[in-house]
Amino acid sequence: MPNDKNATSSGKTSSSSGQAKQAEQVLLPDLDMNIERLHRFLGGGEDIVCRTLQHRSFDNTRYALMYIDGIVDGGVISTMLLGLLDDANQYAEMREDTTLHRHLTERSIAIGKLSEIETVEQACYAMLEGCSILIVEGSLRAIAMDTTGGKTRAVEEPSSQTVIRGPKEGFTENLRTNTSLIRKIIKSPDLRFEYKMIGRQTRTNIAVVYLEGIAEAEVIKEVHRRLDAIDIDGVLESGYIEEFIQDRAFTPFPLLQNTERPDTASAALLEGQVVIMVSGTPFALVAPVTFVKFFQSSEDYYQRYDIATFLRIIRMTSFFISMLLPSLYIAITTFHQEMLPTSLLISLAAQREGIPFPALLEAFLMEITFEILREAGVRMPRIIGPAISIVGALVLGQAAVQAGIISAAMVIVVSFTAIASFVIPAVNMGIAARLIRFILMILAGTFGLFGIMSGLMILLAHLCGLRSFGKPYMMPFAPFVASNLKDVLVRVPWWAMRKRPVKIANDNNAIREGAGQKPSPDQEGA
């Protein structure tokens, strides 16, 4: 995406390198010189295509088309070239004041988006973006034509955030595709896309998307301020950005949400959040977020509200299970045996007969084993998947129990914990629970429930101290915002959610739907 303003502004960042300094020169009237300098700037290479043409109507003035092969759209290039050749071979009387440059811009090029370029550097960066450059002999400016293209992945169903009911489109690695997906959903003139370029080497395009008047101006300003402060050589994924712009450096909890679903991003925009899209990754960032956001799936709003509410409570419970269950098991079986019902205690005690390790070590062994299995499952080639699952399930589970190394109850606890951790819709929140689990296990093995409560208190204080772009992380609970509770643990029906989340969106423009839309039989009868 050639964007002159940004190209110039970010030119400053790269001016520190010696190579760039040399190239910071304006285009010369001499075409060959220009071409040669461009070649030199880009370091040559077979993929740089240069095609020289002559125009009959302008005394066979030479001009050149340059682009980098592979990142341009071949079809567009050939159509344009056809048009250029057609035009070059025709002879017509030209008005005195017309130059070839102007003629090409105004009459000849069959490309929508053009821009003027004055320096070699700009021209090179435009080419690196996927533009084609037209340089005319004797002109001090070149024309950059947007011919961005090349091989991109098609819009597919998102793999990490799946739904049963809801749109199946997912973001791709192409920023333009992603912005178009948003545009297609929100057809509002208030939708703003503001582009930035981050990364000295990668020059990654970043789009800050928000809805003017619905997003809070303070937040937008803060997003820009934090993005502008980033100075890094490369941005390959939105995770790079996330770590630079989150409010607190040391926290296991995600302070920005990520999504590869255009509908989730659009919902965030409609609630006054800001979406940051990064070129080269299907994962867009959403800010500011609160803790509860990570337990909401876009499907909650597509399914009936009663089941959505139920599922949210299930997810919250799962989060606590995946964080607490092993530590509670350790605490109760090694410190507070009195809390177990007698028959359960007897069967647990029977299982533990002959187990060599203390419960804490047993739990650690199993948890680590499971984490290894999980990592293996993610990294291994697809073909050997079944083998790993057989080894994991049979050998490590059943055989360990039969050999008397691990008690069966511990296997149940660990597997349940593992399954519960997959219920959380946001993977990064699940990771937080996974890490905290181990610390709580140590505390439980040392101080029992008192240790767990101490750990939870630290966690609570930490969570209450967190902020996401200035917004308190535990928002609807602490500070308590009653009206936001409609969409936290319960999801009230759509007609009852008249307001956007208070204190996240612009509070002056909070009403999002008309009043009194609750369906009632009287209306239908009439």
């Binding site: 009195e338 809390m339 008192f450 409560m453 204080a461």
Partner: protein, 368 residues
């Protein structure tokens, strides 16, 4: 950003500053003095607590957003302000240690009898220090969330204890002499006077005008929990048995038997209590750090927290070799200190306020 805590969070802070100590050992002491009329003593204490909250809030209202120590200095001049700040700082630090030790004893009595006290105090101080480092705002927010939890736990506990409750055990009412009832109301009044923490909290409030409401509701919440524990103890065990129990609320929860699976749940109740205990510790640590930091004009708040925490660990685990001594400290020796610092000092400040207001008015008229 200047921290701002809402009115509800202030209520939660006041509540969790008073409640953890007041429900712990006080009920059985009160029952042993006032027998089955102890709950009336509780109500007397509640009324006195409300009056104290009212007084403190009135003083707090006179503050126009300055931090407490700075306010004192601007009112009475630097030396007096500094002295007040230092006194309060030392008082809060001392209370922090005493409370820390009594909480560690409690934890030791109830669940972890073999764990060295040093470890218990260390982990408690660690948690409190961490919480304080998150800022008073985070403490306040945590307090409000813990308050939610308590509001859920209390009705559930009362519900599952319902079958064991026999209100006839309270009859005849007014069987004990009024003098005994009055005496019995002293221990809780001592703890309820801790509502004076509001003096430090007011400058941080979003709406300092609602400090009165916060103080009253917070104090009321605490004393109603006290009365609830006394009532539960009396109606379930009767007046003769409650003095036998060091921690009545634990014993009350210990007799729960719902079917074969829900029994012996006092550890769960105690776990929720742990959270309020941590809030209380954090508030006291915050108060002592706040007073010392601002009166001595120290440079790093973080280092003040760390220093005081280390000192507190040493004091709490080393000062009283026997648990009995610290118990004595917590109930008897500390009581006059509590009353002096929480009632006498605010009264002096109030008198000073009245005095200086007259002077300031004069000053104002002279200037104009």
């Amino acid at each position: 950003m200047k921290p701002a805590i809402s009115t509800m969070q202030t209520v939660a802070l006041v509540q969790s500053t008073i409640t953890p100590t007041i429900v712990l050992a006080v009920p059985s002491v009160m029952v042993s003095i006032a027998h089955h009329d102890a709950w009336i003593s509780g109500i007397i204490a509640a009324v006195v607590g409300l009056v104290m909250a009212l007084g403190i809030a009135m003083i707090g209202k006179a503050n126009n957003g300055q931090l407490f120590v700075a306010w004192m200095e601007s009112l009475f001049g630097k030396p007096i302000g500094l002295t007040i700040g230092l006194m309060l700082g030392i008082y809060y630090f001392n209370s922090f240690c005493v409370i820390l030790r009594s909480f560690a004893n409690f934890v030791s009595d109830i669940v972890l009898d073999a764990t060295p006290l040093f470890m218990l105090t260390s982990i408690m101080v660690l948690v409190a220090a961490f919480t304080v480092m998150q800022g008073i705002e985070a403490v306040a927010r945590s307090a409000s969330m813990v308050l939610f939890l308590i509001m859920v736990v209390i009705p559930v506990s009362v519900f599952i204890l319902y079958t064991d409750i026999d209100f006839k055990r309270l009859i005849p009412v007014f069987d004990t002499s009024p003098v005994r009832m009055a005496i019995a109301s002293f221990p809780p009044i001592g703890w309820l006077s801790e509502v004076s923490i509001l003096l430090l909290l007011t400058p941080y409030m979003k709406k300092p005008g609602s400090v009165l409401r916060a103080g009253l509701i917070g104090s009321l919440l605490s004393s109603s929990q006290l009365v609830l524990v006394i009532l539960l103890g009396l109606t379930i065990f009767g007046q003769q048995l409650v003095p036998l129990m060091s921690y009545a609320f634990v014993n009350v929860m210990a007799i729960v038997e719902v079917g074969e699976f829900l029994e012996r749940i006092e550890v769960f109740t105690v776990s929720v209590w742990f959270l309020t205990m941590y809030i209380k510790l954090s508030v006291f640590l915050f108060a002592s750090v706040h007073c010392l930091f601002h009166s001595l004009r120290l440079h790093s708040e973080r280092h003040t927290v760390i220093g005081l925490s280390l000192l507190a660990i040493a004091t709490a685990s080393g000062e009283w070799p026997r648990n009995m001594n610290s118990g004595l400290m917590a109930t008897l020796v500390n009581m006059p200190v509590l009353l002096i610092m929480n009632i006498a000092l605010p009264v002096l400040i109030a008198i000073g306020l009245l005095f200086t207001r007259g002077r300031r008015k004069q000053g104002g008229t002279q200037r104009s």
